[in-house]
């Protein structure tokens, strides 16, 4: 039951993009069409779960016992950067077709603040290992949901006539605002 609460809270109530403002860069950058949005979601889900798992174990077995919690930021970002590189190399060797689909998005993920954000949030919220993994997976699904809906809207937006000054980023931001307004309807379901 607890895990279901974590899931609903992370996907709908505290949506990583629309309520917490993490991962805005890919949200605005790679949301021009639905297939690219799905590809990005796949890559983010994969890296986010793996990164949270590794950083959680490092925090509990190295940083906490030696009381070097202040090294958290440096250690976590290095782990994420190394992990992304490793995933890229392994994927290239093991599954070229998957690499074709996700490859372009992988280097972008190092600077996706959602990945580092989730890794730190999990420690701050004092989750255990299983809760952390569930939280990471649900956050990634929430990211994918927001990204895919937004990409769908933007595809339609291409066909409408928009005032000249609002074309491009401004209209995308206002659209995201309305989407965030819709997601606010979920607030209060889970605390």
């Amino acid at each position: 039951m607890e895990y279901i609460f974590i899931f609903i809270a992370a996907v709908f109530v505290n949506n990583i993009v629309l309520a917490q403002f993490l991962g805005i860069c890919p949200f605005l950058g790679v949301s021009k069409s639905v297939p690219t949005a799905l590809g990005m979601t796949g890559a983010v889900t994969f890296v986010m779960i793996l990164a949270t798992l590794v950083t959680f174990i490092v925090q509990k077995t190295i940083l906490d016992p030696f009381e070097i919690g202040f090294m958290q930021t440096i250690v976590f970002i290095l782990i994420i950067a190394a992990l992304v590189q490793m995933v890229e190399i392994i994927l290239k060797k093991v599954s070229p077709s998957l690499y074709q689909a996700l490859g372009v998005f992988l280097p972008l993920i190092t600077t996706n603040c959602a990945v580092l954000g989730v890794a730190i949030m999990v420690i701050q919220k004092n989750y255990n290992l299983l809760e952390s993994v569930v939280f990471a997976a649900s956050t990634a699904i929430g990211f994918g949901l927001a990204l895919t809906i937004f990409a769908g809207i933007r595809e339609q937006l291409e066909l409408t006539s928009i005032p000249k000054g609002m074309k491009g980023t401004p209209i995308a931001l206002v659209t995201a605002g309305l989407l965030a307004l819709a997601f606010m309807g979920f607030s209060g379901i889970v605390k």
Binding site: L78, T111, L116, M166, T169, G177, L181
Partner: protein
């Protein structure tokens, strides 16, 4: 390009938020009030100046292959300094900025300047570039913070302008951030076109 241009280009011509559209997460996330925007902007500016300085000094001795990880470690070190100083001297601001302080590490502006400017230039121009871009970012964040605070809660830097009952609360919440920034960018584009 002379030093003065290095310093001033960040304010308008290459403003990181309005023109280059970098560093969107903190821009939207912390600007619920003018004070938060100012604090976040100055913290980022501090990291930018010092990381630009350090990177311009050591860039030649870092092998090309591990350039990016090297830059990230330098940036992360300065972010940790800011994080700890802020926790010690400005605990309330540290509380309200929260997660966004450690996330300066992945702010594209900082790594972007390191890669595109500091690694190719000498120490003094790099510092001025960092200061200019940092202050341009601070200006953008403070402006957005002011707009959201005035429209949302009727205050400016915590001074009441009109009764909170007339404020549009949506501007303090998440959707208001997107909508306010969208219209602000449209407005700035319009000014840039007429110039």
């Amino acid at each position: 390009m002379n030093n003065w241009q290095n310093f001033t280009k960040g304010f308008f011509k290459e403003n990181p938020t309005f023109v280059l559209l970098l560093g969107m997460c903190p821009t939207l996330g912390v600007t619920t009030s003018a004070i938060n925007g100012l604090g976040m902007g100055l913290a980022t500016a501090f990291v930018l100046v010092l990381s630009n300085l350090a990177i311009s000094l050591v860039a030649n001795s870092i092998p090309d292959k591990i350039r990016i990880p090297g830059f990230i470690v330098i940036i992360a070190a300065f972010v940790t300094v800011v994080d700890m100083c802020m926790a010690a001297y400005l605990p309330s601001l540290h509380e309200s900025l929260g997660l966004f302080i450690p996330l300066i590490v992945v702010n594209c502006i900082v790594l972007g300047r390191a890669e595109s400017f500091a690694s190719k230039n000498k120490a003094i121009p790099s510092m001025l570039d960092g200061l200019g871009i940092g202050l341009g970012f601070t200006m953008a964040l403070t402006l957005l913070g002011c707009i959201r605070e005035v429209l949302g809660s009727g205050k400016l830097f915590n001074i009441t302008l009109y009764s909170e009952n007339y404020g549009m609360i949506v501007f303090v919440l998440a959707p208001g951030a997107f909508i306010a920034l969208g219209y602000l960018i449209a407005f700035i584009n319009r000014i840039r076109k007429t110039n």
